[in-house]
Amino acid sequence: MLAVEHLTKYYGTKVGVKDLSFKIKKGRILGILGSNGSGKTTTFRVLLGLIEKDEGKITYEGNLLDFSDKCLFGYLPEEKSMLRDLKVKDQISYLARLKKIGNEEIEAQMDYWLAYLHIERYRNAKVRSLSKGNMQLVQLACALIHQPKILIFDEPLNGLDLENVGLFKRLCEKLKKEGRIILISSHQYNNIEDLVDDVVYLDRGDTCFKGNLKNLKKKYPQRILVLDEDIIDEKDDGVISVEKIGHQYHIKLENENVANQYVRKLMREKVSSFSLEMVSLQMMIREALHERTR
């Protein structure tokens, strides 16, 4: 288990992250979320030993985190951090060798991950010739090649198309099953919502909310009715708001009972194309920020 207790980091007088605490067990995914400059990357950099914390304690399996163990973490940075004049295989093997992995092991792991991520045809290509999405996949291979126990993915979905987003989700499920700890930060809440087990939401360094995502959602009794037609009005009983997103109407209802009443009504009126959803992660965040500003 990785435990962070009261982690605080200042940049001069500016707060990087303040009093952040969380625990994450093996085989689970923690989403560290927040707006730009909220302290997500600072948290990752402290965990990786790139910057020193000002206060707090970080432990792994009960012991203080040993920053000299360079193989513990696999890191996928937010930006493209590669030497573009290198070939893909040279870039991957260079970073792997820095982790003190033997050549045979590097070759075996590289074969595996390039195949898994469907980028084996780019093995001898120069990094600069790759598309943004493929560069991201190469970076992913760099983060995985030494088989780290903890993975930090900072904005992993940047530049990935739908197919590769699916591939990334399958990868995370696989890593979870293997008992790895995964920390993810992303602004694509709809994509990571079904991926993360726990979340921490940061706002300007402060922890806004945190915990198991399912439990957190239970705190929000509201239900969302998604309809193709504009047949429910904002003034109707139990309706909090009506929002048009694309071609659909998202009707926010007070609670599950109200939602059930509307579902029965729609069935009576023989409206077949509708769905009932729980509050989304994005809505939870919006609510939380709204609360905070109040």
Partner: protein, 423 residues
Amino acid sequence: MKELVKFSLKRRFWNSAAILLNVLLCLVVCGVLFADKLIELVNPSLLDVQRIYLNVDEKIENALLNVESGLDFIADNRSSEEILDKDSKAYVLYYEEGYKLASQYEVPQEMMALVESLVGDVHRNLMLSESLSIEEMEAMNQSYMIENVVEYESIQMNSDKQNLIFMVITSIYFTMLSFSTSVANEVIYEKSTRQLELILTSVSAKTHFLSKMAVGWLAILIQAFLLGSYIISGGFLRILFDEGRGLILLIRQLGLFMIEQETILEFLSSIPIEFDFIVKILFILFFLMMGILLLQMVLVVISSFIANIEEAGNVQGPFYLILLGIYYFALSVNTPYQMSEGIGFILSFFPFLNMLFMPCRLLIQNVSFIELSLSALISCIFMALILSKGPLVYQRGVLDYTSKGFLGVMKKTLKRSEDHEKK
């Protein structure tokens, strides 16, 4: 660290640009070693043997005409002005209250010395021969020092030693600048591509800093080794070709250096390889390498605060101007007085500056072992200081996510390291 060094060196030397440059360098070395043959192809008149018209005593004239000297002596009774009007590259040796060598431009010292020694030899030989009358003996006994009469204009020539020091200072300056900047730019590149962030998740900032120093140093040694091997191979080819006779003749004709020997091997065997000479060379190399290392450290530390190439120009620019100032200053104070007791003497004890001033002193005069050791010790202490504090500042610099600037971060880092030491 081994991987970092290996990777950097491979990137630096095993790429198409570096290979092409080395091929060019090899060609340049061969070009220099076979310069006479190239000139023969391009402009053969440059290789014409120096013509010296003689308007002297008949016996001297006859003797000089029979001497094998590599010079082309021609008897001619016309006046020097007349001869030089027709043949501007020629010299005219005549006697008018002493020997005079007339020329359009000032005759190189080596050539003057050669003609003087030839005339001297002729005088001595004639004096030893029994066929001379007493008057002739008296005439022969007179001084045979030659005065150069310049018909066109006088150009002041530098002495060999001054030339040598100028060459040493210039070489040191460009060596330190090019090698130090390449390491600094490597750091800037890694930082601007964010590769550094990934590297530092695998190695400590201190290891990365030290690896950059090692890369800088090894790059110099490898480049020196490559250049040395090109020179040795080219020289070997030249020796096989004609023992280097043509090249030495060309050097003499162009007045570059005064080489008395006829072949490269004779020249090499005439170099006095004494213990003192070797010690001097070793000390010069030591100060050069220390200076480059110090400069590299400082530049790498500064570069760690630079986020992109544009910023690099702003920060490194003034630094290079300072170095250029030091270079010109070293050239201007390059006098025996300044180097023995003036500012050059004092600066030869300063870390980094001793890279320029101590070699100059070593070339001009004999420097005591105590002075050399003191200067080397000061450099070592300064280097140890930078080695202990440098990585801390470097770590802050490469992972600087604040807007405090170089001085602010450095101050804080140094304060923090002091606190750590106290604890």
